[in-house]
Amino acid sequence: MTTLDVSRASDETGSKPPRVRLPRLLHPGAWWLWAAGLAVAASRTTNPLLLLLIVAVAAYVVAARRSPSPWARSFSVFLKLGLIIIVIRVLFQAIVSAPIGTTVVVTLPALTLPELFAGVRLGGAVTLESLVAALYDGMRLATIIICVGAANSLASPARLLKAVPSALYEFGLSVVVAVTFAPQLVADLDRIRTARRLRGRTVGGVRGTAAVALPVLEGALERSVMLAAAMDSRGYGRQATRSPLLRRATAAALLSALVLVIIGTYALLDASAPAALGLPMLAIGLALSVVGFALAGRRSVRTRYRPDPWGWAEWGVTTCGAITASAVVWLSITGARGLIAPVDPIGWPAVPALAVAAILVSALPAFIAPPPPGRAP
């Protein structure tokens, strides 16, 4: 609506139309790549200040650019999950792991384990240093989870699945169908438990539960058959005719891609193999797999309804994530100070200016990405 008014106004005045950004949802792939960049950065540091900064950046972008769908409200769940991870990590450190440092906070009753479990400790002295180290470590893991949560609430996995290449379409579809089946299974379970009560039978307990399992599975099976019939009648699985040559080319490309990727990965991971062998093989393998997928995709006649476009905003958001990830990784490889917080002895974590700047770059998507529809821009 607003865009219409604006264009009319500009026609009347004859001046250059002001730039209006249409609200739209960003391509889900861009959000997931951006979040992956933040997660990579988080995995390279234990500095609590940097980790908190990453969480703050993720939260800021989510608050600015999430869609109004109910799915998008899941971010707070991930924040709570992060807190739980930290608590568990610290508790485990206190009870099970070997302590570092000497500042004893409390001494728990120790349990001596038999010879077999030598090296495993239960209870004993708990040092401040080991608790702090566990806290930092837990924070790192929690931050990575929160980055996933951010991507999740900015672009639901279901939307991401729709963007998969058409050769992987079948896989994406089965996931979507499974997700929609889940609530119906719950409804079935409810109905059958109701029916048991109506016949005056027990509902709870092992016997009650076992008795409902069979009818629920029966119902699910029946529904899958009906769904299959419905999908068939609507044209699912129509195939374009193709030459045998194309079919063989597809198979050959995919198979050799698989072999090359396996060899390449092995060569990269195994330090004794020549590195010159690893990278090129991996690269060729990946390139071949892209060709294979493209060829396989030509088999189906499917088209896509309103595919998410990949425009400047998507490039921008992805680039921000990439800058953050590569800068932090580069700092960590070159051994820049401040990425690893001192725990033994405990000291205040430093604030490395370069790393902070690199992380702040990832806050830019809050401005680069177009506002989602249904929310005031």
Partner: protein, 544 residues
């Protein structure tokens, strides 16, 4: 006229069946026709429909002799997916056909499979949203839609592929009268404006007959189909809506197919009936109520399904609970059987709160036959089901089987409940509930998918049960069932009772709830009208 569907001496036999389901069917359906397929349950209607797009035999198995051609394509060499661009199929339960999770994606799904270009898809989705009045819900999740909306989405989802033929299996069976009219109006618009050929099967003929160009009667047992104009088929068909049966009774010619036709010829009959009171005046001996619901409220999360409902039911009463989908009918039934505790107010069955009861003490007081009666049945033979029911109710072995024999002697004890017809399954579920002799019997939407003869038997059965002192509450959309059986009608809207009174007082004059016979006969100074064909027959017998 161009034939778009051609059956050429088609015989369909399912594997394992001794006799063919359809034998030697030859007929053609022209472009732009609306064809109604009628017949009793299990007569082969669905088989006929599924043969049109090749689901029979490609999906269901079985053998097909002869040739079925749709838009020139032979279904023996074309799979359903290869016919998807010419035939759109809407199955009985729209929810079971949905592949995606939102309205807009569901509308686009079929086109994506056909490989239609994105710009065309976009245009057709917008057109279809407008055509079916779905633009307001385009982003909604399919699970959150009402029954009528779901049915329209299912129709829209096949329409976007621009099929020449639309096949629908009982599109209105789960809908309340209002939503059913909404769907039928949509279909009529498609036939009139777009020239689509529509083939639909339906049990509730009173809703659809007047829209049909031709009727195909499937007699079952592989007998030859009867095909013809609605008037000629209805003259002899055993499945006929009340208005047709009234026409046959009064020997009107031509046979009326709609209330409007019938009213033009009804003047004479109205005068004859006017002469004397039709309804026996209620000499109601009010017995103390066995169901007492007092200012009951119930809610699911933020949805207040019941907002202070008060209702008493005495032994011998049959109460029809009506109202649109989501009005709170099912919720009220589940509070009556103790499945749901009310948030406020009290529910008493025989003086006891049903939510505190379990096992034989519960089922000895109140029994509920749920919407899908097969939910109650879990064993693999009828006999095992009856034996289980004896054990559950703690009665002599064989009681349930004897009861079932009295209700429906033709049901074989060694059959699998799944293989019974819809009506037989309902009777079996009733027998299972009745064996513990509950004072209160509740039925949720019992006539869904039942043909007229089965419905008549159910009405008789319910009247007998009420006679013998049971209190019966039936939640139903079926106005004819209510007219046929109920002594009282209670209308719910948004969780409140908006009408409660003797059946005739509530339904006569209501545009949605009036049965066909009442609509035909009601006049300005004649409101003491009979509600059913049976009542008219009785009244005429008295007048002579």
């Amino acid at each position: 006229m161009n034939p778009v569907i051609e059956f050429d001496s088609v015989t369909i036999t399912y594997s394992g069946a001794s006799a063919p389901t359809l034998a030697d069917v030859s007929l053609t359906i022209d472009e732009g026709e609306l064809v109604l397929v009628v017949g009793e349950t299990g007569s082969g209607k669905s088989t006929f429909l599924r043969a049109i797009n090749g689901l029979v035999p490609h999906f269901t198995g079985g053998t097909v002799h002869g040739r079925v051609r749709v838009a020139g394509r032979d279904t023996s060499t074309h799979h359903p997916r290869d016919l998807a661009d010419v035939v759109g199929v809407v199955p009985q339960d729209p929810m079971s056909s949905f592949v995606t999770d939102t309205v807009e994606e569901e509308l686009a799904y079929g086109m994506e499979c056909l490989g239609i270009t994105p710009s065309t898809m976009r245009r057709r989705v917008e057109e279809t949203l407008d055509l079916l009045g779905l633009a307001d819900v385009r982003d909604r999740a399919l699970l959150s839609l009402s029954g009528g909306q779901r049915q329209r989405v299912a129709i829209g989802a096949v329409l976007t592929s621009h099929p020449r033929v639309l096949v629908l299996d009982e599109p209105t069976s789960a809908l309340d009268p209002g939503a059913a009219e909404e769907v039928l109006a949509t279909l009529q618009r498609l036939v009139h404006d777009l020239g689509i050929t529509v083939v639909l099967a339906e049990h509730r003929l009173e809703r659809v007959l007047e829209y049909a160009d031709r009727v195909i009667f499937v007699p079952g047992g592989a007998q030859p189909l009867v095909v013809g104009s609605p008037g000629t088929v209805m003259a002899t068909s055993p499945v006929a809506p009340p208005v047709v049966r009234l026409g046959r009774l009064a020997e009107w010619d031509p046979l009326p197919l709609s209330v409007r036709d019938a009213r033009r010829q009804a003047g004479d009959l109205r005068a004859r009936l006017h002469a004397q009171p039709v309804r026996a005046q209620d000499i109601a001996i009010r017995r103390p109520p066995v169901v007492a619901v007092d200012r009951t409220q119930a809610s699911y999360g933020a949805v207040h399904a019941l907002r202070g409902v008060t209702l008493d039911v005495a032994p011998g009463e049959i109460v029809a609970l009506m109202g649109r989908n989501g009005a709170g009918k099912s919720t009220l039934l589940s509070t009556l059987v103790g499945l749901r505790r009310p948030n406020a107010g009290t529910v008493r069955i025989d003086g006891v709160d049903p939510a505190t009861l379990t096992g034989p003490r519960l089922i000895g007081r109140v029994g509920l036959v749920p919407q899908d009666s097969s939910d109650l049945l879990s064993r693999d033979t009828v006999a095992a089901e009856c034996a289980d029911a004896d054990r559950d109710a703690d009665v002599d072995p064989g009681s349930a089987a004897r009861l079932l024999h009295r209700l429906a002697p033709e049901i074989p004890l060694d059959a699998h409940p799944r293989d019974l017809s819809e009506g037989q399954r309902l009777v079996l579920a009733l027998a299972v509930i009745l064996v513990s002799t509950p004072a209160v019997i509740l039925l949720d939407e019992p006539t869904r998918g039942l043909d007229y003869p089965t419905k008549d038997r159910l009405s008789q059965l319910l009247r007998d049960l009420a006679e013998s002192g049971h209190a019966i509450v039936v939640a139903t959309h079926d106005v004819e069932l209510a007219a046929e059986t109920a002594t009282r009608v209670v209308v719910l809207a948004d969780g409140e009772v908006v009408a409660d009174g003797p059946t005739a007082d509530v339904v006569v004059g209501s545009p949605l709830f009036a049965p066909q016979v009442a609509k035909v006969l009601v006049g300005p100074d004649f409101d003491d009208v009979p509600l059913t064909v049976t009542a008219v027959r009785t009244a005429l017998a008295v007048t002579g």
